[in-house]
C-alpha cells in the first residue's frame, strides 16, 4: 500500500500551511474581543512599592487595568511545578512562589506587573506604557556560578543560598574506586549555553468567558491542551475542568516552550471574567525573548577515568543548573532525570556519579527545550570521549568502539535500561558516508588554501517516549505519561483518529494517518487526525520528548487492533467465515484463499446499520485506547561533522555533516529526515551561534535578532543522512522517536570538529568567530622568555 508504513507520503497539512491558510490562535477573532498588554518589570530584582494606573485607565479605549494583588484576592493560584525532586540529603526541593502577576517583588526583567485590557492592541500597549509603577531596586543574582556564592543576593526569601535542590545519581564510592584504579583521567569544565526557543509563531491566547454558562474557552499556543486545562483547573482555580475548554489550533513550533502554562494565559482567562470581554494577547518577539522559557544553561565540571587500554572505569560530573527566577512546569526534571540518567551515553560504564545543583537567578525561567537534559548529557559525554581520546593519543572513533554497549537490554548505572541498538553499525555507516578515510587528504588540501580543517564525532543515545507512568511517579512526577487514542470508523468507512498528542510542526496529520491506511488498505485522504481540543478529544498528555511516535502511535495501534478485531467479527458474520481466515488488504476484508470479500466501507456501514450483527454485538465501530509504555525508547546514532576554520577571522564553516540515526521503525522517512534536518540545524545553532546573554544587572542583552543569532540557511551545509534500524522491542511498532535527536547529537560533533581543527580543546559554545579566534590566539602564545 503506497500510503502505508515506510512510505514517503507528502504531508497532508502542508497545503494549508504553505498557502497561508493555517488557523493559528492569533487568527481567532471573537465578537466583543478586546486586547491585552502587560506592564513588565524593567528590573531584574525590585520591590514594587506602588502602581498608579489612573492615567492609563483614563486613556482612549482602555477597559481595565488589573494587578497581581487583585488576582490573588480572587483566589487565582500560583504557578506549579510538575515534578518534585528530592535532594541527596533526603530533603524536598525548595522553590520560590510564582504568582501570575507580581504581588510584591519582581524577579526578572519581563516579570508581569499589571495587565491592561483595551479595545485595540495599540491602545492596550500605549496604556501599558502609561501605567506608573514605583520600584525599589534590589541587588540581582544573574549567573549560575554567582548564585551559589556566599552572600549572593537571594532571589526568594524561602530558598537559602538560591539552592533549589542538590541532587545526585549513581554511586560516588564506586566512581572514586574507579578513578583510584585509572591509568588516565581526563578533566574538563564545559558550559551548556543558554538558548531562546524562538518558535516561529509567538505565544498567544484568546480567553473567552461565557457568563451565562459560567464557562471559559481558551484558545492558546499549547503543545498539550489537556494538561493546560488540568493545571488551570486544579491548581490555578480558574474554573473546574468541565467548565473550561482549551483549544490549541494550528501551532507554529514549540520546541518545548509551549508545554508550559505561563502567567499570560492564566491572566487573560481571569481578565476575561473580570471585564466580560474576550481577551486576546499575542506576544511580540521582544516579549518572547524576555518571557518564553529558556533552555539549557548548565555549567559542568567532569572527569573520566580509563584503564591503560582505554576502557572507561568511572565518570563523574558536577553540574550547576540555572532554573531562573521561577520554577517552570518541568524545569526540575530536565537537569535531573532527563540528564543524569543519560550520563552513560552509549558506553559500558562500570561506575557513574552525577551531582546537580539547581539554582534560582534573577533571569527568565529555564525549562525543557528540544532535547531537554539529553543534549546536556550528550554534550558532556561526547566532548569527554573526544578530548580523552586526544589526550591518550587514540583515534576518537576507536575509543568509542572499545567502550560501546553491545548487548541488550543493557542496564546502566544510572537507572535506565536500554532496549536495543547497534552502535557499531551506525558508526560504521557514518564513517563510510563521511569518507573518514579521505579526511587527511581533505585536510591537506584545505591547508593549502590557508584553512584549518577538523573532524569531530558524536555517538549519542537518548531516551524518548516519556514515559512509564508508575516509574516516573516513583521519581517525583505529578502526572502519568501514557497517551490516548480513539479510532472512529464512519459509516462510509472513512476514519477519524482522535489523539491526545498535539502536532505543532511534526506532521502527525500524515504520519498517524499512515497507520490506519496501512492497517486497512485505504488511502490516507480517507483518514483525518483530530487533536488539540479538549471538547473533541479524550484526555491526553500532549507532545514533547519525542513521545508522539513511541507512546502516541502505540495508543493508536492499540485502538486500531480493537477496531480490526471488531471489523473482522462483523465481516466474518456477514461472509459466514471464520475470523481467523480473514485478511484485510487493499481496502477489503477477504476470506483468505477464496474470492469472498467485503469492501472496507461495507464493514463500516454494516456496523452502523446494525441489521445483521453477530449475536450480542453493540452497533458502531469506534474504539479507544490508553497506552502506558513499558519503558522509554532509546534512539541512537553516529554524527560526524567536518569544519573549516579561517584562522584570520575565527569563522567556522561546516563543510560536511553526516548523521546516521537508529530510530527503530520509520513510518514516513521524508518526515523523519525533516525532523533530523530541523534538529541538527538547532544543534548547530547551539554550537556555533545562539546564546542568551544577560548583563550583570540582569538586563537582557540578546533581546532581539540584532544580537541573538538564529541559524540561517547559509550557516548550514547540505546534510548527509542515513538510518540504521534496530526496532524497539517494547512497543508495537518498534519506533523510537526522532524529534530531538539532531539537537541532542549535533553540538558535540561540531565542537569536537572545531577543537580538532584549531588544536585547542578549551572552547565553549557558542563557537562564534570571536570565541574561535580567541581560542586560536591561546595556541599561539609565545613561549616564556628563557
Amino acid at each position: 500500500m503506497s500510503d502505508g508504513i515506510g512510505a514517503r507520503v507528502p504531508r497532508k497539512e502542508d497545503k494549508r500551511f504553505i498557502t497561508g491558510k493555517g488557523k493559528y490562535t492569533d487568527d481567532i477573532r471573537m465578537e466583543n474581543q478586546a486586547y491585552a498588554a502587560f506592564v513588565r518589570s524593567p528590573h531584574a530584582a525590585a520591590k514594587v512599592t506602588g502602581i498608579d494606573a489612573l492615567a492609563a485607565e483614563a486613556m482612549e479605549g482602555v477597559i481595565a487595568v488589573h494587578t497581581g494583588p487583585q488576582m490573588k484576592d480572587d483566589g487565582i493560584g500560583d504557578l506549579i511545578t510538575g515534578w518534585s525532586i528530592t535532594s541527596k540529603d533526603g530533603s524536598p526541593m525548595q522553590c520560590g512562589a510564582w504568582s501570575p502577576m507580581v504581588t510584591e517583588n519582581a524577579r526578572y526583567v519581563g516579570d508581569a506587573v499589571a495587565i491592561v485590557v483595551a479595545e485595540t492592541q495599540e491602545q492596550a500597549r500605549r496604556a501599558a506604557e502609561a501605567v506608573e509603577v514605583s520600584y525599589e531596586e534590589l541587588p540581582a543574582t544573574v549567573y549560575v556560578d554567582q548564585a551559589v556564592k556566599d552572600g549572593a543576593p537571594q532571589v526568594h526569601g524561602n530558598v537559602p543560598g538560591n539552592m533549589i535542590y542538590d541532587w545526585e545519581i549513581g554511586d560516588k564510592a564506586k566512581a572514586d574506586a574507579g578513578f583510584a584504579a585509572a591509568a588516565h583521567i581526563t578533566e574538563m569544565e564545559i558550559v551548556n549555553n543558554r538558548l531562546s526557543p524562538n518558535a516561529m509563531e509567538p505565544r498567544s491566547a484568546v480567553a473567552v468567558f461565557d457568563e451565562a454558562e459560567d464557562h471559559y474557552t481558551l484558545y492558546t499556543t499549547s503543545q498539550n491542551p489537556h494538561v493546560a486545562r488540568l493545571v488551570l483547573s486544579a491548581f490555578y482555580n480558574v474554573a473546574p475542568e468541565h467548565k473550561l475548554r482549551v483549544i490549541a489550533p494550528d501551532v507554529g513550533g514549540g520546541f518545548g516552550s509551549k508545554i508550559y502554562i505561563y502567567p499570560e494565559e492564566i491572566t487573560c482567562l481571569w481578565a476575561s471574567m473580570k471585564t466580560g470581554r474576550s481577551v486576546k494577547w499575542t506576544s511580540d518577539r521582544s516579549e518572547a525573548f524576555m518571557t518564553d522559557a529558556h533552555g539549557r544553561d548548565h555549567v559542568t565540571k567532569m572527569r573520566m577515568g580509563f584503564d591503560a587500554e582505554g576502557k572507561i572505569l568511572a565518570f563523574e560530573t558536577d553540574t550547576l543548573a540555572n532554573l531562573g527566577a521561577y520554577v517552570s512546569l518541568f524545569a526540575t526534571v530536565t537537569p535531573t532525570y532527563l540528564h543524569g540518567t543519560l550520563l552513560s551515553g552509549c558506553y559500558a560504564m562500570p561506575a557513574i556519579y552525577g551531582n546537580v545543583k539547581a539554582v534560582h537567578t534573577n533571569t527568565a525561567p529555564v525549562d525543557a527545550y528540544r532535547g531537554a537534559g539529553r543534549p546536556e548529557a550528550t554534550y558532556s559525554v561526547e566532548r569527554m570521549m573526544e578530548t580523552a581520546a586526544r589526550e591518550m593519543g587514540m583515534d576518537p572513533a576507536e575509543l568509542r568502539r572499545k567502550n560501546f554497549i553491545t548487548e541488550f537490554p543493557y542496564q546502566t548505572e544510572v537507572i535506565l535500561q536500554y532496549d536495543s541498538g547497534d552502535y557499531h553499525k551506525t558508526l560504521d555507516m557514518a564513517q563510510e558516508a563521511a569518507d573518514v578515510a579521505g579526511f587527511a587528504a581533505r585536510k591537506a588540501e584545505a591547508a593549502s588554501r590557508g584553512k584549518l580543517r577538523g573532524i569531530g564525532y558524536s555517538t549519542f543515545v537518548e531516551a524518548c517516549g516519556i514515559a512509564p507512568s508508575a516509574a516516573v511517579g516513583s521519581l517525583g512526577a505529578a502526572v502519568g505519561l501514557w497517551e490516548s487514542a480513539e479510532v472512529r470508523v464512519n459509516p462510509v468507512g472513512t476514519i477519524e483518529i482522535l489523539t491526545g498528542c498535539h502536532s505543532h510542526g511534526q506532521g502527525h496529520e500524515t504520519t498517524f494517518a499512515q497507520l490506519a491506511a496501512d492497517r486497512f488498505g485505504i488511502p490516507i485522504e480517507n483518514v483525518a487526525i483530530v487533536h488539540g481540543d479538549t471538547d473533541k478529544v479524550q484526555f491526553g498528555m500532549g507532545t514533547y520528548g519525542s513521545r508522539s511516535g513511541p507512546v502516541g502511535m502505540s495508543a493508536i495501534v492499540k485502538a486500531l487492533d480493537k477496531v480490526e478485531a471488531k471489523a473482522k467479527k462483523i465481516a466474518a458474520h456477514t461472509l459466514e467465515a471464520s475470523e481467523d481466515d480473514l485478511v484485510i488488504e487493499g481496502g477489503e476484508v477477504k476470506v483468505a484463499g477464496t474470492d469472498k470479500s467485503m469492501a472496507w466501507h461495507e464493514v463500516g456501514l454494516a456496523a452502523y446499520i446494525a441489521h445483521n450483527l453477530p449475536e450480542g454485538m453493540e452497533p458502531g465501530l469506534k474504539e479507544a485506547s490508553f497506552y502506558d509504555p513499558a519503558n522509554f525508547s532509546f534512539p541512537a546514532g553516529a554524527l560526524i561533522c567536518e569544519v573549516e576554520v579561517d584562522p584570520d577571522t575565527g569563522v567556522t564553516e561546516i563543510v560536511q555533516f553526516t548523521a546516521v540515526d537508529d530510530f527503530g521503525t520509520v513510518i514516513n522517512p521524508m518526515i523523519v529526515e525533516g525532523q533530523v534536518h530541523g534538529g541538527v540545524a538547532q544543534g548547530i545553532g547551539q554550537a556555533l551561534l545562539e546564546q542568551v546573554v544577560y548583563d550583570e544587572d540582569g538586563q537582557l542583552i540578546t533581546g532581539s535578532y540584532m544580537d541573538y543569532t538564529m541559524p540561517r540557511a547559509g550557516d548550514l551545509p547540505s546534510f548527509t543522512l542515513d538510518h540504521g534500524c534496530t526496532p524497539s522491542p517494547l512497543n508495537p511498532l518498534g519506533v523510537k522517536g526522532c524529534g530531538e535527536a539532531g539537537a541532542i547529537g549535533a553540538p558535540p560533533a561540531v565542537i569536537n570538529a572545531i577543537t580538532d581543527a584549531i588544536g585547542n580543546n578549551d572552547l565553549q559554545m557558542p563557537a562564534t568567530p570571536l570565541a574561535v579566534w580567541t581560542a586560536l590566539q591561546a595556541t599561539k602564545t609565545p613561549m616564556a622568555a628563557e
Binding site: E122, G650, M710, T768, P769, L770
Partner: protein
C-alpha cells in the same frame, strides 16, 4: 506605532518647509531604521516627510570623473546601475551587500548616511572615496559630514539631495558581518584616489566611521596586503560587545583591510 502625519512633497523646497514646520518632523528616506524604531515605540515623530519620488532626488549620473547619486536612490538601484558598476564597482558591490533584498529595495543612500549608524556600510564609502554630500543648503565634504556615532553636520531642517563621488583609480570594500544582525562588525573601504590613498572603517569604532591614518600611510607607500601587515592596528577606540572584543575588532580591521586591498587589485 504612535500616530504620525505622513507627507509626500513634490519638491525639495516643500520638503524643507514641512520639515521645519512640524513639531518633531523627520525625513522618511526609505525608513529601514526609522520605521522599525517607531514600531517599537522608540521614536515618535509628529510628521514624516517622504522624500522618495521628488524630482531629481533619485538616480545616478556620471560625468567628468564623478558619479552623482540622488539621495533617494535605493540600494538596489545603485547595486545594479551600469555607471556605478563600471566606474566604481566597489560602491555597487557595497550597495549589493547592505541588509537583505527587502532592505535594499526600500533603503536609500541619503537615509543611510543621514542616520550614520556606526555599523552602516555607506558611510565608509562616502568617507573612503572622499565624497561630497550635497544638501538643499550647501555642499559638505565627507571629512566634515560624519561627526561621530549617529552624528552628522546636517542642520535640523537640512535635506541631503545627492552624494557625489570622485571616481577612484582603485577601490574595494571588505565587510565582516555581525553574526546576528549582519550589519558590519568591521567594514573597511580602501581607495586610491587623486588625493591619495584613503581608508575608512565602519562598524569597529566606538565613535562611528573613521579614517585610519596608519593604514593610509602604509598603503600610500605600497598599495599591497603586505603593507597592511606592517601596521599595528590598536584596540584604542574600538567597540567591544558580545560579538567582538576591541582586540578582535582590531584584528578584523587588519584582516579586512588586506582583503579589501587584494580585491582592489
Amino acid at each position: 506605532m504612535y500616530p504620525t502625519n505622513y507627507h509626500k512633497p513634490s519638491s525639495v523646497a516643500d520638503a524643507a518647509s514641512l520639515l521645519s514646520g512640524g513639531e518633531a518632523a523627520k525625513v522618511l528616506a526609505g525608513g529601514q531604521t526609522l520605521l522599525p524604531t517607531m514600531k517599537q515605540h522608540l521614536a515618535a515623530p509628529s510628521d514624516l516627510v517622504d522624500v522618495r519620488g521628488i524630482d531629481g532626488m533619485e538616480g545616478v549620473t556620471a560625468s567628468n570623473g564623478t558619479i552623482t547619486i540622488g539621495a533617494a536612490t535605493r540600494h538596489a538601484d545603485v547595486e545594479s546601475n551600469a555607471d556605478v558598476k563600471s566606474h566604481i564597482p566597489a560602491l555597487a558591490a557595497l550597495a549589493g551587500g547592505i541588509g537583505d533584498p527587502a532592505v535594499r529595495s526600500m533603503g536609500t543612500i541619503g537615509g543611510s548616511i543621514a542616520n550614520n549608524d556606526p555599523a552602516a556600510d555607506y558611510p565608509s564609502a562616502v568617507l573612503g572615496l572622499g565624497g561630497t554630500v550635497v544638501t538643499n543648503k550647501r555642499e559638505i565634504a565627507a571629512d566634515e559630514f560624519f561627526q561621530g556615532m549617529f552624528g552628522t553636520a546636517l542642520d535640523e531642517d537640512e535635506i541631503i539631495t545627492a552624494v557625489r563621488f570622485p571616481v577612484p583609480s582603485k577601490a574595494a570594500y571588505a565587510k565582516f558581518p555581525n553574526p546576528a544582525s549582519r550589519y558590519a562588525m568591521v567594514g573597511v573601504f580602501v581607495a586610491q584616489t587623486d588625493s591619495g590613498v584613503r581608508v575608512a572603517i565602519t562598524g569597529a569604532g566606538d565613535d562611528g566611521v573613521f579614517r585610519h591614518e596608519g593604514l593610509e600611510q602604509a598603503l600610500s607607500g605600497s598599495f599591497s596586503a603586505d603593507a597592511v601587515d606592517g601596521v599595528a592596528v590598536g584596540e584604542d577606540g574600538m567597540l567591544s560587545d558580545i560579538h567582538g572584543t576591541a582586540a578582535y575588532r582590531a584584528n578584523l580591521v587588519s584582516v579586512m583591510a588586506k582583503r579589501a586591498v587584494d580585491a582592489a587589485g
